[in-house]
Subunit: 245 residues, 2 copies
């Protein structure tokens, strides 16, 4: 892991840890660390800047929410050329749903960085999504639009957005695979195996066997997700067979 | 007026007129003219692309609406550091209100370019704002974020956004000036005079006299707006006097 040359000159060790944590989450180096710090300050801390303005993540959340919506809009515009305005609006709200954003924030373990006077276990689910939005706002201010777009593509669209699932055409690939196995009277099994990945966030590795063959593997930040990804891979591998069934 | 070298080779004269019209509205040269054309196609035309997807401005409107909100959010974030999330949300919806966007679209005379099977006089007010949003969406796709931001700063924020007025702290500078004149028993007069500007869009020039002195001048796309701007200038020039009154 490379440390920026000036890190230990200009920042405390605590800042250094925060910098490295952010770098790992963001996939790039923050320029103005203060903006990112603000993205994790809960209003209960009651912090103010020199001019007496409140310093917490709520304003950044406002900004990030808007930017997130715009980048998802652009993605959908390109991805679904046949979708009209109503369709695009509906899909966007599914992608940026509270539930979805909370899951995202949780997988990135953003709550680890939250500063608060309220014990973290007393927060509801929404803290995860709110801080995720604030983080997007911080990226926007610190590095501009292009970095936001890249971050959202990598962290939201790539791993979380599946148009077919969102449309309800496919509820769960796992259920499709199970259904097919039952119909075909084939045994199937999902196994967690040792993950050799070296990520900052814990990952789960799952392999799916049908009969005696391992048909797909996947790793993700939760067992459920890894099973779903493995199922999707198996589904596409078996698609011809399934459609003919 | 300079024509791009390849214009008359690759486009019809009609395209040339449209290109020049867009260039004048946008303040820069469009790259992909087709995207802008789509921003003016009403659904009544029932146009489809090669794949049978509907081609009208509604999808671009969806995109532009979102981008407009994001850029206004960023502007407000920087402009009002003391405003909390609720304040920012409220101010943003005032700035991007239907009424406000319709006024903008009308001032740019965007309806001139609208293709429709419905006679234009039968459209309601909202066509102006809708096409304005679609135009922002077209800029986003054609030239990216930075051009959108510049366009919105120049066309929306600069001429239309006055935080004090939006907050309702000042309803109208004209009424403040008139009030002051009446209290001080001074005569005042708003006069339209010859505007020497050479803009594509018609402008009105107004001068405000108090007693025998011209205290402010302004030009804008409507008489009402020019009077308001002149009043604001006068207000700031007279502010000390007014506050002491």
């Amino acid at each position: 892991m490379k440390f920026p040359a000036n890190l230990f000159n200009s920042h405390s060790n605590k800042d250094g840890d925060f910098f490295l944590g952010m770098k790992s989450i963001l996939g790039f180096k923050p320029k103005n660390l203060d903006i990112y710090k603000r993205a994790f300050v809960h209003r209960s801390v009651n912090r103010k800047d020199k001019l007496g303005n409140p310093m917490n993540y709520e304003r950044l959340e406002f900004l990030g929410d808007s930017m997130l919506g715009t980048i998802i809009s652009k993605y959908l515009y390109g991805k679904v050329p046949e979708g009209d305005e109503g369709y695009l609006t509906k899909m966007r709200s599914k992608i940026v749903s509270r539930e979805h954003l909370n899951e995202l924030g949780k997988d990135l373990n953003l709550i680890h960085y939250v500063e608060s006077r309220i014990p973290k276990e007393r927060f509801g689910e929404n803290i995860h999504g709110n801080v995720f939005e604030a983080l997007v706002g911080a990226i926007y201010l610190d590095r501009g639009y292009a970095f936001c777009e890249k971050f959202i593509n990598k962290k939201v669209i790539g791993p979380y957005v599946d148009i077919e699932q969102l449309e309800g055409r496919v509820i769960s690939y796992k259920s499709l695979v199970i259904e097919w196995c039952q119909k075909k009277k084939k045994s199937f099994q999902y196994d967690v195996y040792d993950d050799t990945g070296n990520d900052a966030v814990k990952h789960f590795a799952v392999k799916l066997s049908i009969g005696n063959n391992v048909v797909a593997k996947a790793r993700a930040t939760s067992k459920k997700k890894a099973e779903e990804i493995a199922s999707k891979r198996a589904y596409y591998a078996l698609q011809d067979k399934i459609n003919k069934a």
